[in-house]
Every structure is written in C-alpha cells, then in structure tokens.
Symmetry: C2
C-alpha cells in the first residue's frame, strides 16, 4: 500500500534552501521553522554521533511550539582523516578546507532527527565523495564567485565545483546536499502508516 | 593554469533540457543545434559501444554546418543483465522497464562525442544506480505524474522517483542525468589549452 502523506503535517526545522528544495521535490508539503542555536557538541562524540547530536539540538527549541506536527531537523558534516570539517569560518578557512579535500575521497554524513507527539527517532546516512585535484586558482575562483560559507566542507555538490570536479560519489547524492531523502522517505512512510 | 573557455564556441547537439542545464550550471555558454535521427545501431555493439556509436551518429548531420565551433553530442543508455534499456516506447513499456529496475543495481552509460575543425574524440562514463524495491502503485503513479518517456530507463534521477527510491549511486551523478560533466570539463580544458 502506498503511504498517504496528506495526513502528515510536517515542520522542517532548517533554513537550508537545499533541504527545502529536496523535501519539496520529493512531493511533501511542509512549513519551515527554525531557531538559531550554537552548534556545539561534546568532544567525546565521533563521526555520525556529531550530526545526530546536532540534529537533535536543533530540534529542542522548536519542540515546545509543536502540536501534533512531525518535526524534521538535520545536520551535515564532512569527515576526513578522522576529523570533522564543518562550515568555514571565513574565506581563508574555506580555502584551507578545499585544499584539504582536493584529490581525496571524504565522507559526508547527515544526521536526521524526527519528533512527533513526544516520540522521537533518528538515523544517518553516509556518502563518499571524491574530488579530483583542485588547482589553487579554481579554489579561489569558487570561493569568490559562489557561496561556500554556509556549507559543511565549504562546497555545494550542486555548484560549479561539484559539476566540474567531483568525479565520483558512492552513496546517496541528496545526502551530500543535506537531506538523505530516500531513507527519510522510508521513515515518513512508516510514520504515515501508523 | 586555469583554462580560458571564453575562446571556445560550443554547440551542444542535444535537445535534452537536462544536458543544457548541466553545461550551463558548469559555467559554459553554448548554442543548441539538433537534428532528429533514427537512433539505430548495429547488433554487434556491446555496452558502452552503443552510446558512443549513437553520440557519433547524432553529430553527423550537424558537422556540415560547423565553422570552427566545438560540437558536443551525447547518448545515454541503461544497462542491466547484459542488455541495453533505452527510452520507453509507451507507458506500458515504461512500466515494464521500471519493474525490471526495481530492487536492483543497473549501470547508466553516457557516451560523449566531441568534434572541432575536422578532429574528433570521444569518451564515456559509467555510474551504478541502485533502486530499492518499487511498489506497483509507485511505478504507476510515477509514470502518470511525471515524464519518463524521453528518458533512458524510463526515469529521471532528479525526479520524484530518484529522490525517494534511488538509495545509492556509485560514480558521477551528472552522468546519470545525461552528461558526465567532470570528465567533459577535463576534455574541454585540454581543448581550450591547445
């Protein structure tokens, strides 16, 4: 049986235009609500624990405003050499990040947190992304002409840099954009059927 | 040194809106020219030989109109169980194709043909695409509500079905959309530097 999503009132707790676009392209209607938080996490957390923790953290200030809507929050990190790479602090940081990613395969991990009527669940997805060697001039041009500052790893896979220098991904493409939609769709199907 | 593409006059020999979008998002300016041809190929061809042959075939009627522009043509096939899966003939065929792809990993192969001043070259790219099990109703709804008829394998990875049921790809995402842009970018860089 196909899930009936029209029963499901969804609140997306994210201002990322890419997450909105994915959820909308997947056919869902939703409202956007978001509160700025400090994206801090305990040093003891490792790899997928980090975006799972931050997705949960982003949900907390929104929960009190919920009635019986489903709240979805998410956080995306880049993981390379056992280190987390978040959003760049400034253009110089963006330059250093992209220099690190050049010619290598890194992992993009998105943690998703779901909350409805006092019950919550979460999941994550991992995608490997391979950049060819980036030239210094390419990195500088990208940082100057595009908007890498609000993006984990200082790049958008749907941007010029993704189109011309990401030679391979292994996993879900939409996960790299910030929302692992096929996995989320399965979760939403289960919720709408219960 | 960064390639200087402003010297390169490009003609895209394809009416696919997805190929135009990719080339445009990658920062290229180009004109579109296309002539309808019968997309037929010898039975002796196998796998990547097929889209390479068809990309070449699509270029032939356009070559006589060229001055010193670069012509780019491409063809995309879906490959499953040693068989080519092309565009669906009708809605029933689209249904059978998607039923075949359901729950399996197939390969998407795009052949690209480049021609400039009497010289030509070509290349191809392969991406593995994995669908979760599709329900009969999902396939029917997709065929009714979207436009699978002009697409190899009867689906668009950027459509609802790609967003919600393609759990994994291995390779280049843009190759699945019809143009392996990172590889093409490298080729264009070489051409613009010579």
């Amino acid at each position: 049986m196909l899930p009936n999503f029209s029963n499901l009132e969804i609140i997306l707790g994210s201002t990322s235009p890419r997450r909105s676009q994915i959820l909308s392209d997947a056919g869902f209607k939703f409202q956007i609500k978001s509160k700025n938080i400090e994206e801090e996490y305990p040093n003891s957390l490792f790899k997928e624990e980090i975006p799972l923790f931050l997705a949960n953290l982003k949900a907390q200030p929104l929960i009190e405003y919920l009635q019986d809507e489903l709240l979805i929050t998410a956080d995306t990190i880049v993981w390379l050499n056992n280190e987390v790479i978040g959003k760049p602090k400034d253009k110089i940081d963006a330059y250093h990040i992209l220099t690190k990613l050049s010619g290598k395969t890194h992992e993009v991990i998105t943690g998703v947190f779901l909350y409805k009527n006092g019950k919550s669940s979460n999941f994550f997805d991992v995608t490997e992304v391979t950049f060819r060697n980036l030239e210094e001039e390419e990195i500088k041009r990208y940082i100057d002409q595009f908007q890498p500052m609000d993006k984990a790893g200082a790049y958008g896979i749907q941007d010029w840099i993704g189109l011309t220098t990401v030679t391979k991904i292994n996993g879900c493409y939409y996960n790299v954009m910030g929302l692992p939609m096929p996995k989320l769709y399965q979760q939403l199907s289960n919720i709408s059927l219960t």
